[in-house]
Structure formats: structure tokens, C-alpha cells
Symmetry: C2
């Protein structure tokens, strides 16, 4: 189990350290885990002058899975586009062909108060958003800023999906729906965009191979509304890269505790990059205040999806449930009556619960 | 004051009838209002075989303003793309050059319970979303479905904005911010899309002409989160066509009472199309159940933006506030303790309050 560990920027190193402690417990209990570190994003620019240097690239290509903290920070805002931290993230996704981004939005009962939505609307929330991650307008050509025939500057990007790209993400989404509530909602804007009309057509075609899954379709504007109106209507959602970027962030915020949400980005063979859904939080970096649970739960997803270690994954997830039940809270999810702990304090609690 | 009235489909005719009654009161009190009807969407397809026939086009071109109900219905779902109701909507926007879509998200104190969000998060909510409406990936060329060099089918659309298109919507947004809280948030995905990087650059340039307005920038995924986390941080938001489609629907649903929300779509000279933010609700069409208030408030926006009749606009808005305070509610916003009224019953109440 070769894991490339990329702490990244901001709170990345702190939260990664706690997830590594968890993986070390599993190793000492017999899992053949090997971990090696490399920089990504701003940290990689500082060390190698590039957000995804070949040192990191080689390590990640060789590894079975990648565990990432987070990238980005204000000190990199004025770098030229190609050198900014998020370029490292886009580059590693494309380089490793991590086309399937899984983003659960789960509300832990103990944290129901953290949501800005009424408890009855979100209690028990458990949505899985499957976002295509290596196509769409993120990578489509042509793109750029140019002077048009009228002598005026204009800018353009290309939304683009091939049949094969849609088919493979459809299979991932239907496969996940089969293991969950067997309901899949495909999100498109088929009334306006040919690309998503095509998306819908392929989804319908792939659905014939999964007769047990109930497939529905929703326009992206309506999906953005329905997530607010009645999020519990959803089981699994599947959509393209840009719509998925927007909707998965909206869905995660419904829980009010984004510091709890992991994510996975998988290739065709379940090699994956695992990272928390939240960002690098430069304002609290280095202060031992961050919530490491999303990163620890990302490590659990890694055990499940890449290494097929369902028992070990559940052991980690149960440890997280235990520490919540015990009342341990980092600052972002703190409520009176609970015990406030630091990032490393939360790591201690999880290790103890394991 | 020449107004083209387009009832459209579903509940359109019912809600339009109540808004017309309101305008007739104002006419009998001296405003030189003239109204003529034409079909749009499915109704136009039924009568003329096209969702935006030349009969309707001529009437709308001649008018100073257009009042629209809503378009769409399941009976049109299997028409070929070019004949579907929403094509009528896209066509009239483009034909009349209605590039500035104003979508307020306002929570009426009496309806605070209708929201799925906690009262403290949304009470007093008053956001104005300015959405560019005639550019972006909605209209960008090239677009289509084709076979690529590898012999595989693929589909594509083009996100595209010229400098002039961005500049004119920027001026509308800054102008509105000047009349409100002087805070403007421009939403982009400048870290990934050149088109929105260009958008941001032009926004910053136009900002120099409005030194009193505080301009901020937010990525679209973060905006989708922040609308859930703390929507009251926003005053005016401005964004492109597709992001605006998604975010304005999300924002309107924060209120829980989308039956209350009007919209305006303006050209360079404040000619405008006014319509409720909600859809054609085919399930309750013809039952005198729909909420006509969003359409009545759309007529108020028309008085304000096209006809510069601020006093008359406020008179209508105050009448709506009065009927809410009196406890009249259509089914969509009904609560125990209030008086349930039909669509026409709500029209009666507003006319009486006027
Ligand atoms: C940082 C950015 C490029 C990235 C994206 O848009 O994919 C982020 O928002 C995400 O969702 O992982
Ligand atoms: C019906 C559809 C074409 C339209 C749009 O996407 O603009 C609608 O969603 C809207 O927002 O008015």
C-alpha cells in the first residue's frame, strides 16, 4: 500500500500529520502501509519553482494512492497563472487521470446544530455527489483571450465531453448508487447546452445496464434550489466538472460542518487522490486549531476505494463517530457543553478510539 | 406606456390576469397604460407553430415593456429542441437585447417561517442578483454534437464574453449598487476559466468609475456555499449567464417563498421584460390556486425600471405588504392562523389594498 503524502499549504501539514498517525496505527496492526512525502501547490513552488514538480509527479505516479492536505495561500495570489497552487491540483488530477470525484455530504447527528438549515430539513442527510473531474470546461480547448473580428477583446472557454468520458463516469455513479439507495439523479442543463443534452442521452443509455437503479434528471438551476428546499430527496447525484464544483460545495455547506467532509478522486483502476473538502485556511495555519477529521475520513475513503479494506475503513469511521459521541470538538464545530480540543488533541482522541 | 402582455403557459394566464387588474387600477388613476396580448412558449406553438412567432415578436418590439407569465409544460417535452417553450424565452431575450437580468431575493418578515433556513440566518434577507442574460455559454458559438478525430462522438459549447458585454452589465450592477448598500460582489471562476478571469479584470476597471461602491470577488463554488452559510453578507451580486442562472435560483429558494419573487430583464434603454422568478407550475394550472404576487411585484418593477414611476411602484409593493400583513395567503405560502385565498382572491385583496 504505497501512499504518496502531500501535505500542501496552510493547515495542510497539521491535518495530514494527524491522518498519518491514524494510518500508522493501522500499519502497526498489520496493514502493509508505506508513506512518502512530497510537496504540492505553494509548498512545491517554494521548493521546486512549480506547483506540481516532477519530484512530486514521480512519487504520485509510483504510488497506489495519494493523500493530500490542501493547497493555496495569499502569498501565492500574485504568481502568474501557471504557477499558482491550484494549477498543481488541476495538473495532478489530469496527470493521474482522476476522473471520478466522490464528495459525500453527510450530517453527523451530533453536529446537527452547526447547519444553517432547520434540523428537520437536514437531519440524517447523506448525499453522495459524483463529479466528473478531468473534462468539461475545465480542460476544454480552445480557450483564451483574443481580439475578435470587430477589433474588440473577448475571452472564451470550451465545454466539451466525449461519449467515452461520460460513459465512464456514468458507470462509476451507477456503481455507487447500486451500493447505496439505488437512486441516481443526473444534473444537466439539457434545455440550453448541447453538451449536457448529450450527457443526458448517454446517462439514459448506461442506465439500461443498471435496471435496479432509478435514474432521474434535473436541471442544474433546479438542483441548486432543491438542495436548499429538500436535500434529503437525493441519494447519489452525478454531474459534470463545473456543475459538480458548484453543487458539491453547496451540498457540503448544508451540513454546516465542512471540516468533517472527505473526498476521493479516482481513476479507472481505483487509484485515487484523497483530500478533505475544505481549503487550506491560511488564517489559522500553524496554530494547531484546524479540524483533522475530514482528512482522517479521507484516509478511510482511501482504505475503502483504493485498498478494498472495508473493515479498516469502518474502523476509522467508527473511531471518528466515537470521538464525536465523546464530545470532543475542534473550534470550527465547537458548541457549549463539549470539550474543545486542538488539531493534535483531536488526533490523540481518534488514535485512542482506534 | 405600451405593454405587451404574454400570459404564456401553465399558471401564466391566471397570474397575469391578476397583475393586469392591478395595472388597470393604476390606469384608472391616471397612468397612460395600454396593454395588448400575445402568446409565447407552448401557447404560441399551439397557435402559430413557433414558441416566439412574428406576431408576438412585432408586438414586443413595438412595446415599451413586456409582462410575461411563465412558459413550459409537459405536453411540449417531446417537441424538437427549436420548438420547445424555453426557446421562446431565449429568443425574446436575445431579440430584444435584454442583457441585464435583475433577480431580487427578498424575505418578507411575515413569511420567514417558509424558509428551510434558520430565521436568524435569513431574516431581513435582501439580495439583488444581476445576471448577464444574452451572452456566455447560452449563446456562444461554436456549439453542437459531432464526431471527433478519433471517431468518437463528442459535444461542445462555448463560453464567450466580449469586453463590451461585460462592461455594460458591470455598469448596470454598479448603478444598482449605488442605489442600495454600495456593496457589489462579482462572482467568477477566475482560477480556472479565462473568460471569467477577463470578466474580473473588466469589473475592476469599471469599478474605478464608482469609487463609492465596495467591489469584492468570489469564486462561484464559494458563492454557492456562502449563500447557504451567511446570505446576509451580500448586497448586490453580479455574474454571467450560467452562474447567474444557478445562483439566482439558489438565492431565491433561501426565502422559501419563490412565489413572491419578481424579475426584470432590461436592455440598454431600460426597455424590459418582467416575469415572476417561478415557473409555469403545470400541476396546478387552471385551478385558481397559484400565487399571483410575484407577477404583481414584477409589474411594480416595470413601473420602476421602464417607466420611472417610483411612486406607483411603491404603491403596488405597499399593497402587497398590506395583504401579507392582513394575513392573506395563497396555498404555497399558507400557515395556520392565516386566511387561505385563491389566485383571484389574492388579486381581490391587492386591488382592495391599492
Ligand atoms: C481550486 C479549484 C481549481 C478546485 C476546482 O474548481 O476544481 C476546487 O474548487 C475544488 O473543487 O477542488
Ligand atoms: C428555461 C431556461 C432556458 C431559463 C434559463 O436558463 O435562463 C430559466 O432557467 C431562467 O432562469 O429563466
Amino acid at each position: 500500500m504505497k501512499i504518496a503524502v502531500l501535505p500542501g499549504d496552510g493547515i495542510g501539514p497539521e491535518i495530514i500529520a494527524q491522518a498519518q498517525r491514524v494510518l500508522e496505527v493501522l500499519r502497526s496492526d498489520g496493514l502493509p502501509i508505506e508513506m512518502e512525502q512530497a510537496p504540492l501547490g505553494g509548498a512545491a513552488y517554494d521548493e521546486f519553482g512549480h506547483p506540481y514538480p516532477s519530484f512530486t509527479q514521480n512519487l504520485c505516479r509510483d504510488a497506489d494512492a495519494v493523500l493530500l492536505g490542501a493547497v493555496g495561500g495569499p502569498q501565492y495570489d500574485n504568481l502568474e497563472r501557471a504557477l499558482r497552487p491550484e494549477r498543481g491540483l488541476l495538473a495532478i488530477r489530469k496527470d493521474l487521470n482522476l476522473f471520478a470525484n466522490l464528495r459525500p455530504a453527510i450530517l453527523y447527528p451530533e453536529l446537527a446544530n452547526a447547519s444553517t438549515l432547520k434540523p428537520e430539513v437536514v437531519s440524517g442527510l447523506d448525499i453522495m455527489i459524483v463529479r466528473e473531474l478531468t473534462g468539461d470546461i475545465y480542460f476544454g480547448q480552445p480557450r483564451g483571450i483574443a481580439v475578435n473580428e470587430l477589433g474588440e477583446r473577448e475571452a472564451y472557454n470550451t465545454m466539451r465531453y466525449s461519449e467515452g468520458e461520460i460513459r465512464r463516469i456514468a458507470h462509476v455513479a451507477f456503481g455507487i448508487a447500486m451500493k447505496r439507495g439505488k437512486k441516481l439523479c443526473s444534473v444537466d442543463k439539457a434545455n440550453v447546452l448541447e453538451t449536457t443534452e448529450f450527457w443526458k442521452e448517454i446517462m439514459i443509455d448506461v442506465a439500461r445496464e443498471y435496471p435496479q437503479v432509478e435514474l432521474s434528471h434535473m436541471y442544474v438551476d433546479n438542483a441548486a434550489m432543491q438542495l436548499v428546499r429538500n436535500p434529503k430527496q437525493f441519494d447519489v447525484m452525478v454531474t459534470g466538472n463545473i456543475f459538480g464544483d458548484i453543487l458539491s460545495d453547496e451540498a457540503s455547506m448544508l451540513t454546516g460542518s465542512i471540516g468533517m467532509l472527505p473526498s476521493a478522486s479516482l481513476d479507472q483502476n481505483n487509484k485515487g487522490l484523497y483530500e478533505p473538502s475544505h481549503g487550506s485556511a491560511p488564517d489559522i495555519a500553524g496554530k494547531d486549531l484546524a479540524n483533522p477529521l475530514a482528512t482522517i475520513l479521507s484516509a478511510a475513503m482511501m482504505l475503502r476505494y483504493t485498498f478494498n479494506q472495508e473493515a479498516a475503513a469502518q474502523r476509522v469511521e467508527n473511531a471518528v463517530k466515537t470521538v464525536l459521541a465523546q464530545g470532543y470538538r475542534t473550534a470550527d464545530i465547537f458548541e457549549t457543553g463539549c470539550e474543545k480540543v486542538s488539531c493534535s488533541g483531536m488526533g490523540n482522541a481518534v488514535v485512542a478510539a482506534l
